[in-house]
């Protein structure tokens, strides 16, 4: 038996004992999501237990070093863990911008003190982060951001406004881009800082979206004090950190559809439409569209895996995250269009227990942001044209 087979057997045995029944099977609704943080909300005690057990083992961040609370797994071991989790249909133990975005940036750019202070809390799901990037005047042109941080010796005073800050109203801390040099060219006057959302002067206002939900906020900073020890990377070179983190964010958004995909589309359609005498979905045109989508999804999952392996082997072009972001978000929009078509009248409900308060319709509308947040599809195509295809003037 190879080491990997041994690891699989151990993992399977551990999960059998430690994965509570409440977190097995497709997620019914957003309430199943485990985001952690100081004000963590768990649907059931089983959900809490699942986070605690996985966090203690470092398996919420399987490939991070053990020294910072991570699982210390090799890429191959992490794949085994992921496949064992899929096998028992385990729901994610932690959804976390800390794990997906900030953590990798801290590992690459953070000081030892910052790593020791923040990473273990992230792994255990004890701290929930939000991302202060976009501003009302800086969307696709992110580097045009205007939030100012004025040097006060041992700290900065930050003033400005962020927008589309995901879950700012539920976050404990923020990782934030601020302008620390107003004279330099726009990319060279930005710094990457961290601060507590309970610092005086921070206010948030949720924005109601077309889904009727408010995952995004406006976030205001009025004379917010930020300690200098919470600068990540070099002063005025925060754009380097921002870009590095964006690559992780983009991969994450691209992969979100695959991570979050509940029941297979074909199953949903089967329940709703039924099968004909030949055992095919009783809607040949829709069946064909679903099959094409599923084929693309299988191919896309292979692309996610291949990119991860290329990164590990040092063979990945940094801009390839833009491909995953572009393709994955467009794919997820297609998936939800098809889910709506498959659901038909059933999927039109907006309220009521049967539809989990219009889960299908609200999820469908939410996916429309996938190709906007983290950089629009058009911005991703620009990046690919410039950095990978090296087309002139891109």
């Amino acid at each position: 038996m190879s080491d990997l087979d041994g690891f699989r057997a151990e993992t399977r045995a551990w999960l059998e004992v430690n994965c509570p029944p409440e977190v097995r099977g497709p997620m019914d609704s957003e309430a199943d999501s485990i985001w952690g943080g100081r004000d963590a909300v768990f649907k059931t005690p089983g959900h809490r237990l699942w986070l605690e057990r996985m966090g203690a083992r470092g398996w919420t961040a399987p490939e991070w070093p053990r020294a910072y609370g991570g699982g210390g797994l090799s890429r191959e071991e992490a794949k085994v863990l992921a496949s064992e989790l899929r096998r028992i249909k385990a729901q994610p133990a932690l959804l976390s911008f800390g794990v997906w975005m900030l953590g990798p940036a801290l590992l690459a750019f953070g000081t030892e003190e910052q790593k020791v202070r923040f990473l273990p809390e992230i792994v255990r799901g004890e701290i929930r982060w939000c991302q202060g990037y976009s501003e009302p005047g800086a969307g696709s042109d992110l580097a045009g951001l205007q939030t100012r941080a004025v040097d006060q010796g041992d700290h900065w005073i930050v003033n400005g406004q962020k927008i589309w800050t995901s879950y700012a109203d539920k976050a404990d801390w923020i990782f934030c881009l601020v302008r620390t040099d107003t004279d330099a060219p726009k990319h060279l006057g930005i710094s990457f800082v961290l601060f507590d959302m309970t610092t005086p002067g921070v206010t948030t206002r949720p924005i109601t979206l077309i889904s009727g939900k408010s995952p995004f906020c406006e976030t205001f900073f009025d004379d917010v004090r930020v300690e200098k020890e919470n600068l990540v990377g070099t002063l005025n070179r925060g754009w380097d950190v921002a870009k590095y983190l964006l690559a992780h964010e983009r991969t994450m958004i691209g992969a979100m559809g695959e991570i979050g995909a509940g029941r297979p589309l074909g199953e949903v359609a089967k329940d709703s439409l039924g099968l004909d005498d030949l055992g095919r979905l009783d809607d040949p045109m829709l069946r064909a569209r679903i099959a094409e989508m599923e084929a693309d999804a299988i191919a896309f999952r292979a692309a996610l895996e291949r990119t991860g392996d290329q990164v590990k082997a040092g063979q990945a072009h940094p801009a390839v995250a833009s491909m995953l972001k572009y393709y994955g978000s467009e794919l997820n929009k297609r998936r939800h269009e098809l889910l709506m078509a498959a659901g038909g009248a059933e999927a039109l409900e907006w309220e009521g227990e049967r539809s989990h308060d219009g889960q299908a319709a609200r999820d469908w509308l939410r996916t429309k942001a996938n190709s906007i947040e983290g950089g629009t599809s058009e911005v991703q195509l620009n990046i690919l044209a410039k950095h990978i295809l090296k087309l002139p003037g891109a």
Partner: protein
């Protein structure tokens, strides 16, 4: 296993690409076409495949091959696709070799595999019968007759059938579908060469009461032999199509950088940049699932057939997009015979049909999903 090529596989890719770039430039395809070459391919090139160890990539070392797997087969096929070189690599080195390795007896293997590996013999798979790939609707029958079998039926799209030294014929027995080793010179076999749109060759075969010995049946007549041949064939052909798509795309990118209109390179126009970036994404995502399918075949994974179908479906869709964009972005010159992009378009059309088009394979995805 990481979803990237190993160092050895990367070296094999470089060897195969280098060999084909030197020995089979696009001009050689044009020469074969324009001189109406009786073989339709270069036997010297096939012997070169043998000398380089490419012809027998999956053939066991005991029979003179390299004893490698599906991933290596795909690596060579991708290089073939880039070069558009007509060769018996797929029909002989992969399909017939797979059928014989799995189902041949010792004498049959000894007869053929060393000659395949050396690039000295050519084999053809006689499978399809109608306009479309429908392996579950095969009409060709194999009836027991004395100690052997009698085959009757007709076949179409038999790649390299007109010059084959040996045929592998799919025929229905009372038990199920079997693969039969048939001598093309046997009484009752007639063959009509057809030159296809891509200047490669496929034959129409007629089998009239063709007698073969009992041992002509390779393996059990339960369809499993053909399934294994097709899994490899589909995934490797997808790799070949991916190679052709990449080459067409690279040619197009170079044109976008060079061609000037309105006083600037046409690649500066965002209308074309976005289409090129979209096409890049389609090609790369297809490459990922092709490698996944090839690895799954080597691992004997349960989802190998599904992944091979996804690979072939995606290779068809992204490949067709690549060649259509290539012609459109080249503008008028893309329509000329002199420019190469049309050659990729023609090859892609043929390869799309072979072993099932995107629709055929999407159908298999739906069936696998139980809907």
């Amino acid at each position: 296993m990481p979803l990237i090529l190993t160092e050895e596989q990367t070296m094999l890719a470089e060897t195969a690409q280098g060999f084909l770039a030197e020995q089979a430039p696009l001009s050689s395809l044009r020469t074969l076409r324009d001189t109406r070459d009786p073989d339709g391919l270069s036997r010297d090139l096939w012997r070169g495949f043998g000398e380089m160890g490419l012809a027998g990539v999956i053939i066991p070392e005991a029979y003179g091959g390299s004893g490698l797997g599906a991933v290596e087969a795909g690596v060579v096929a991708e290089a073939v696709g880039r070069s558009l070189a007509p060769s018996p690599f797929l029909s002989t080195g992969l399909l017939a070799a797979r059928a014989l390795i799995d189902g041949g007896d010792a004498a049959q293997k000894q007869d053929w595999l060393p000659r395949f590996a050396a690039g000295e013999a050519i084999a053809a798979l006689a499978l399809d019968e109608g306009a479309k790939h429908r392996p579950d609707k095969i009409q060709t029958r194999a009836e027991r007759s004395g100690n052997g079998w009698k085959l009757k039926g007709s076949k179409a799209l038999v790649v390299n059938g007109h010059i084959a030294d040996v045929l592998i014929v799919a025929a229905l027995t009372d038990d199920g579908l079997g693969l039969f080793l048939v001598d093309p010179k046997a009484s009752g076999v007639s063959c009509e060469r057809t030159i296809m749109v891509d200047a490669q060759n496929a034959a129409r075969l007629d089998l009239k009461e063709v007698s073969v010995d009992a041992d002509a049946l390779l393996g059990p007549a339960d369809g499993s032999g053909l399934d294994r041949v097709l899994n490899l064939g589909r995934a490797a052909l997808a790799a070949e199509m991916s190679g052709a798509a990449q080459a067409a795309f690279e040619t197009t990118l170079a044109y976008l950088r060079d061609r000037k209109q309105f006083g600037k390179a046409i690649g500066e126009f965002q209308a074309l940049q976005h289409r090129a970036a979209h096409l890049y994404s389609e090609i790369e995502i297809t490459r990922a699932v092709i490698l996944k399918a090839l690895q799954a075949i080597d691992a004997g994974a349960a989802d190998a057939a599904l992944l091979a179908s996804v690979a072939k479906a995606r290779a068809g869709k992204s490949g067709e997009l690549a060649v259509q964009e290539a012609v459109q972005m080249h503008g008028g010159v893309g329509m000329t015979d002199e420019f190469d992009v049309g050659l990729y378009m023609k090859r892609m059309r043929v390869a799309s049909e072979l072993f099932g088009d995107a629709g055929f394979h999407a159908e298999r995805v739906a069936k696998a999903g139980g809907y």
